[in-house]
């Protein structure tokens, strides 16, 4: 693996990790809201 390839892979992994964190955070909020909404 060339240094350039390594850099690109790491950049992609970083951006995917950020997006995944956002999605997981959003889902946590959504599931909390669904639970509250179904209790009302």
């Amino acid at each position: 693996m060339t240094p350039e390839e390594q850099r690109i892979i790491q950049a992609r992994q970083r951006s995917r990790a950020k997006i995944l964190a956002l999605i997981l955070g959003g889902l946590a909020i959504l599931f909390y809201a669904i639970t509250i909404a179904k209790m009302v």
């Binding site: 690109i8 995917r16 959504l30 909404a37």
Partner: protein
């Protein structure tokens, strides 16, 4: 092995990996998240989300905004999953078509298995979440629509018959029914009428497109109507299906399921659609570069569906209150 050179918009910073280096490289690249998003066909999703939302808004009864939002999210995720699985299955055909050759899979920017896992995961998640958040009847319709799109349309009909989009069009007609079912737990005459409207709208919409990308379909070996039956027969069929669509469009007001606002909108918007379809039907033009009326019909058909469903919602708000 994925190809990281064919995404200039996304990977400008990755440009230094030049052709020579890429040729020597054998390292599989992880898929870019933007390519995963592209797998869901975001542009198609807008119409799916809008019609699903309209079905939800006109349904009798009450749904919490959170649960309503979740229902629409699930419709979008389910449709995105179907799109991803469609691209996973059609990678060889997409590679032969100019219109689809730059999609993530045929362009080599993503492993095929990634698309399969993404599509199956998203499909299961959307159905389960819809079932938990609203009801299992709505979830079952969503599951049927995904399975119908993947197995009946993509795998079975599309490569075999020119009637592929006539029958396969049902898959795209489910969202208003799912939106309605998410609120009520059942279906009624109005969501069925809206299902029929999208069902009969699909053939003229896709055949107008197929007329000006006919060579693409022919090269990919997809038996779209213009490829197997010719241009003249397709033009005739566009007008014939537009006539049936017009009946479906006016049915809600004739059956007194909607009021005057929808009725007037349906009359005017469908009249314009029919006039454009008639123009396309009467033309004899084989050159894709001279297909102005066909392109206009295709573009208008998208606007038409937004107008019709927007009118149903406004009509409901005005006359139901």
């Amino acid at each position: 092995m994925t190809n990281i050179e064919q995404r200039p918009d996304v990977l400008a910073s990755e440009a230094p990996l030049l052709m020579s280096e890429r040729a020597a490289s054998s390292v599989p690249m992880p898929a870019d998240w933007r390519d995963l998003l592209a797998l869901t066909k975001p542009r198609v999703l807008t119409l799916v989300v809008f019609t699903g939302l309209c079905g939800l808004l006109i349904a009798p009864g009450h749904i919490s905004p959170v649960l309503g939002f979740t229902a629409i999210l699930c419709i979008a995720l389910g449709a995105g999953a179907a799109g991803a699985l469609n691209q996973w299955y059609e990678v060889d055909r997409d590679a032969k078509m100019k219109r689809t050759a730059q999609r993530p899979l045929p362009a080599g920017r993503m492993e095929r298995d990634t698309a399969l896992h993404f599509g199956v995961g998203l499909a299961c998640f959307s159905v389960l979440l819809l079932g938990v958040a609203t009801n299992w009847f709505a979830a079952a319709i969503l599951a049927v629509s995904i399975l119908f799109y993947v197995f009946v349309y993509t795998i079975w009909l599309k490569p075999r018959t020119a009637q592929n989009i006539v029958i396969g069009g049902a898959a795209g007609a489910f969202p208003p029914m799912i939106g309605w079912a998410a609120v009520t737990g059942d279906v009624a005459a109005l969501p069925i009428a809206l299902f029929m409207l999208i069902f009969f709208w699909t053939p003229p919409h896709f055949w107008a497109l197929a007329l000006f990308v006919r060579m693409d379909y022919a090269n990919a070996g997809i038996p779209m109507l213009p490829v197997v039956a010719g241009e003249v027969a397709t033009r005739r069929q566009i007008f014939a299906y537009t006539s049936i669509m017009a009946v479906a469009a006016l049915a809600p007001v004739l059956l007194q399921l909607t009021g005057l606002i929808y009725g007037v909108t349906a009359l005017l918007a469908t009249g314009v659609f029919a006039a454009m379809a008639l123009q396309v039907g009467l033309r004899r033009e084989d050159d894709p570069t001279r297909m102005g009326p066909e392109r206009r019909l295709f573009k208008y058909s998208v606007l038409y569906l937004f107008l019709m469903f927007g009118a149903v919602v406004i009509d409901h708000w005005v006359y139901a209150s």
